[in-house]
């Protein structure tokens, strides 16, 4: 071993730059697959780039007059795409649900508290969940025995997660800088780790206007 020291040293000295060059080449290759705005080594650990989307109308107040009226809508979120177009409009399906006045937190004078607005992308593994207004479908199709008195639930057909729109679950996060500490749609059955992703909305001229969506889901 000691006889080979000079050769070993030379080998080591030539190997190091080769290893360095391969690491740089791998880095470039990864950047080829994921051309984010963040440059350098930061690009390997940077969160996804974001693009602002314009506010869109989800529903009008006339659509949702009675308790448990609901409306499906599509919010088109501009998302980054590594193609010639650079961005694409990803369709984010959503639900607006009118809650009954008896639900805690609903203020009859403040229209903003009447509605639950969620993204329909299941936070478990990304399927689109449904609004289930009857007990039989919920117990038969989604393996969930609802307690009395019955009210509708959100339920996902893929892995049978069920969310209760009347109750909130503690979870912290932000939507475009505005932080929240709880979200409606508590998980009551199934493997989902958290309530559905939220959307921030305003009521302008009796229209429900979606201003921003929580990120993270695959559109």
């Amino acid at each position: 071993m000691e006889d080979n020291t000079r050769r070993m040293l030379l080998k080591t000295l030539t190997t190091l730059p080769i290893i360095g060059a391969s690491v740089l080449a791998m880095h470039a290759l990864l950047r080829y697959f994921r051309p984010t705005l963040a440059g350098g080594v930061k690009a390997l650990m940077a969160p996804p780039d974001e693009v602002a989307s314009a506010p869109q109308v989800a529903a009008t107040l006339n659509d949702l007059t009675k308790p448990w009226d609901f409306k499906e809508f599509i919010y088109v979120r501009t998302s980054v795409e590594y193609s010639a177009n650079k961005t694409q409009g990803a369709k984010i399906p959503g639900f607006v649900v009118r809650l009954p006045d008896a639900v805690p937190g609903v203020d009859p004078k403040n229209p903003k508290t009447w509605f639950v607005v969620v993204q329909r992308i299941c936070p478990h593994l990304g399927c689109t969940f449904n609004f289930i207004p009857n007990r039989e479908e919920l117990s038969g199709g989604y393996n969930f025995a609802a307690p009395d008195p019955f009210h509708p639930y959100f339920a996902c057909p893929c892995h049978l997660s069920v969310y209760d729109p009347t109750r909130a679950q503690k979870i912290s996060g932000t939507v475009k800088g505005v932080s929240f500490d709880e979200l409606p749609g508590k998980v009551v059955s199934g493997p989902a780790p958290r309530p559905p992703r939220t959307m921030s909305f305003d009521i302008v001229d009796s229209k429900i206007l979606i201003t921003e969506t929580e990120g993270g889901g695959i559109g």
Partner: protein, 543 residues
């Protein structure tokens, strides 16, 4: 100066050598670590020479035993899939709004302006790919059950398993190209999967740091070509789908060329029969392509391709983080099991634990697929049942093996009984089963209903919602070390306690078993070394 320092390190100085020469567990471990690089290289070189990709070293056996012809059939099917794929590339358009239409045009060849034999080419590609997965799976099981990964053939098994996984991924990328409902939702699930890499529990050492590096999101973006499924996803998947198969095939061809193997150990008649079977299936059961992708509606029920069904069912029964870890972990566990099988015995009755691992895998695959196709899932009932059965399979295997070893060594029962292995299985089986039964995060709602009614009867001032919230606060969660204080005062920490017993018992048995095993191993090595020394330097008489 630097040269001197490096020579000092490379020369394995005396103080380091003294560590190697030291006897016992530490010395031997240090020795193993010191020689890890060269040993690993030796190991790989030996296995690389013996690696058997398509049963090319079983040419004689294959003539009489079809199990040894699986490799040849597999290769033949792969060729069929590649060739039909090249032909399909002429008409397929990898753009979201044309992909489905182009497939429709290839498939419906009785319409005007149709592509002659388009449906047949597509059918051969589709059913050929299915046969590829079937044959690859059967071959992996054959290697497992016959123990032919032993005596230096480990790499054969590892590479077969890797090709099976690559084949499944190739299938997944392939069926997105059709751009139908099944494809879209399977891709969504697949791409959401890595996001759980960013949701490691913070009690794992370094968990918070890994979360901060966004590796899950990075993986998802590399797969999808952006933050959502779109045109970039289709082109990427098209490229991966083609690249994986084709590059692997080139690699195999190079190996065949270098070693002058016989490429397929099957006769031309067998090739013809396989081709005919695929052709007949194609003609009588035209390959389906579902309805066009619609990101607004998830059909209920929605199923993946058949080889993912069992995994898909498992996702229902698990906490998603655990399920992700398990899905990635199953192949890793299989590889670990491979290296735990150290004995040279290959016969069926002489390695029952590993047989039962294989049988269990088959059973879960078949039963889970059946359950999800028929949409049978009771989330509360099923998970404990499966955990229980898993432990049971291992225990049956263990006791059969124990009986065999006792007979082989003509030993008393306590001499060959591995209390740590049995304890490990019993503790994990029972605690995990009970945890999933009593403290499960799922179906708590159904369980808590009678409790809620009782609470309301005792305290009429409570509203139903308040009672519900109290119960929710006492609900055991999947948090390993923190039993909620409210749960302790309510006297219902059963789920948490079981989970703790499970983890502590599991780790305890593992550590104790490892330490005792290592001590035995070190002692054996020392005795062997002494024997060598005694042989080399015979004591002089009278000295």
């Amino acid at each position: 100066m630097l040269e001197k320092f490096i020579s000092f390190l490379l020369g394995r100085p005396a103080w380091l050598r003294s560590l190697i020469n030291k006897r016992g567990v530490v010395g031997h471990l240090w020795h193993a670590l010191w020689n890890a690089g060269p040993n690993l290289l030796d190991w790989l070189q030996g296995r690389w020479k013996k690696m058997d990709l398509f049963d090319e070293s079983f040419t004689e056996e294959a003539k009489t035993n079809p199990w040894y012809a699986l490799g040849g059939m597999w290769y033949w099917v792969w060729v069929l899939v590649l060739v039909s794929g090249f032909v399909l590339m002429i008409y397929y358009v990898p753009v979201t709004d044309q992909a489905f239409k182009s497939i429709e045009r290839i498939q419906y060849n009785w319409k005007w302006g149709s592509i002659p034999i388009g449906a047949i080419v597509r059918g051969i590609h589709k059913y050929g790919a299915d046969s590829f997965i079937i044959l690859a799976t059967l071959r992996v099981y054959r290697i497992w059950f016959t123990g032919s990964y032993k005596q230096g053939h480990e790499l054969t098994f590892i590479v077969s398993l890797l090709i099976l996984i690559v084949g499944m991924y190739s299938g997944l990328t392939g069926y997105l190209l059709i751009w139908n409902q099944r494809a879209l939702w399977a891709t969504k699930v697949m791409a959401t999967f890595p996001l759980y890499l960013d949701q490691n529990p913070t009690w794992i050492p370094g968990g918070a740091f890994i979360n901060a590096t966004n590796q899950g999101k990075t993986t998802a973006q590399i797969l999808l070509g952006g933050t959502s499924i779109g045109p970039a996803t289709v082109t990427r998947f098209y490229s991966f789908h083609f690249m994986l198969s084709f590059l692997l095939m080139i690699f195999f061809e190079l190996r065949v060329y270098n070693h002058s193997f016989k490429r397929m150990n099957i006769s031309h008649w067998t090739k013809f029969i396989i081709f005919s079977i695929i052709l007949l299936v194609t003609i009588f059961v035209p390959a389906a392509f579902g309805s066009p992708a619609n990101p607004e509606v998830t059909p209920n029920p929605i199923l993946s391709d058949w080889y993912f069904l069992a995994m898909y069912h498992m996702l229902k029964l698990q906490d998603p983080y655990l399920a992700t870890v398990l899905t990635v972990g199953i192949p890793v566990l299989v590889l670990i099991a491979l290296f735990l099988d150290r004995r040279p015995e290959k016969a069926w009755g002489q390695r029952q634990i590993f047989n039962w691992i294989g049988i269990g895998g088959c059973i879960y695959f078949i039963v889970f697929s059946f359950l999800i196709i028929n949409s049978i899932a009771d989330l509360h009932r099923d998970a404990p049942l499966w955990y229980y059965s898993m432990g049971l399979f291992l225990l049956i295997g263990y006791f059969q093996d124990w009986a065999y070893v006792m007979k082989r060594d003509n030993a008393r029962w306590y001499q060959t009984f591995h209390i740590f292995f049995v304890g490990f299985i019993v503790v994990s089986m029972s605690a995990n089963t009970l945890y999933h039964y009593y403290g499960d995060i799922r179906e708590w709602n159904t369980l808590s209903k009678p409790m809620m009614l009782e609470m309301l009867a005792q305290n009429p001032a409570l509203t139903q919602d308040q009672a519900y919230d109290i119960l929710e606060a006492t609900r055991p969660t999947l948090n390993l070390w923190k039993t909620p204080a409210a749960a302790i005062t309510a006297g219902k920490p059963v789920g948490m306690e079981l989970w703790k017993i499970h983890v502590v018992g599991w780790l305890g048995f593992m550590v104790l078993g490892t330490v005792i095993g290592l001590r035995r191993w070190a002692r054996k090595r020392d005795l062997a070394a002494d024997a060598v020394l005694a042989k080399a330097k015979p004591k002089t008489v009278g000295a």
